[in-house]
Symmetry: C3
Subunit: 160 residues, 3 copies
């Protein structure tokens, strides 16, 4: 009889740097313990998966505006508190580097290397007008049903 | 031997439009997969269950003030970010309609039709001075013990 | 065969008064039902465990600044909404007292009396420069691995 691996799922709803760091530290920790880990990126959390450069794709006026107003990838994320117009994130990144904690882009890369399943919520992509070409490689594209299928037999399910 | 249905519980603490939409999309998805779903509305999340009209009930001064300052139902909720004094919610509602995503009031109605158990946290009602007459029909009234009883044998438990 | 107690874990990431109250009400409720409860205090949630007086310890410049800007313990926490420069928390504390709901410091004390395991996230301590001497007594000190070990066989896992 084969032993099923433990599963961990995270809904990453937040667009905050600090919450995204927490999510990816937990995800990488769980993956290191051989959990099958899924992060479902929805709403503001989907912006974490955007490439940091402008990608020319067809958009309507509102989609263009959303695209400009929302952060392109982890480097553009701000803190949920003590953000101080971007000084807070600089300070946090400084102390993380000093204490040899991986940066958020490194945490995302490590998660992908460890086989963490990063899902881009297709409903959010539709609503905000984000296209596959604008997102990083190696993602799955799915809706809430796929998330629930994973969460139903996971031990640890978090909404962040 | 009867098979127990899977259970999903959500603590809806947040008073944000976007988080409430996420909560009810997950709840309706789980209910569609025959999960027994419970949403425990506490703190700011209780305001989602308020009727949108003024209901004349006896209140002390502080309770009257809370009642006026807090949103009456889903139509009055704002976004957790990009709210822009109410323009953000209008844009989100617009794109949700365009993409045939149910609005928050429709999601709540559908949840009730699917038998999702909506609990109003009685401690929060006491603290904020909200009376049963001010809340929508078809709710359960209970405290944290009732929530924990459901969560203890649920597969998916989220705090939103 | 001995019956394993049910387990509940909470990641307390938030530095908001209202979310911390919710976390400790759930934790105390679960402990009252004989769950083994763990609260993992990380990021802003670590500030809840600070003593309310200044403790003279060696810090570098950035650590001193973090120490001054972040709240020292539960009495200094603000609300996630309707904070109004500290008037909101006063109102909430007033109505909690009136309705015989325990205050946050009392909820923390009760959690410790009930054997709730309060973990201070050591990575956060390093990043923010918080020392053991600055935190209340009776804590465990651990990282994400210890949290995941508890969460893996817990029934209820929440991120607050």
């Amino acid at each position: 009889m084969e032993i099923q691996p433990e599963k961990t799922t995270i809904v990453l709803f937040s667009g905050d740097l600090d919450k995204a760091i927490a999510a990816f530290i937990i995800a990488n920790g769980a993956a290191a313990y051989d959990h099958e880990v899924t992060i479902f990126h929805t709403f503001w959390g989907l912006n974490l998966l955007r490439k940091d450069e402008h990608v020319p794709v067809e958009k309507n006026g509102l989609e263009k505006m959303f695209g400009k107003m929302m952060p392109r990838g982890p480097e553009k994320f701000g803190l949920s508190r003590m953000n101080f117009a971007g000084i807070g994130p600089k300070m946090i990144k400084h102390v993380m580097g000093k204490h040899q904690v991986l940066s958020l882009p490194q945490l995302i890369e490590m998660a992908q290397e460890q086989g963490v399943n990063l899902i881009a919520c297709t409903m959010t992509m539709d609503l905000l007008g984000l296209k596959k070409e604008e997102l990083i490689d190696g993602l799955d594209y799915a809706g809430v049903a796929a998330y629930l299928a994973e969460a139903s037999d996971a031990n640890v399910n978090l909404f962040i």
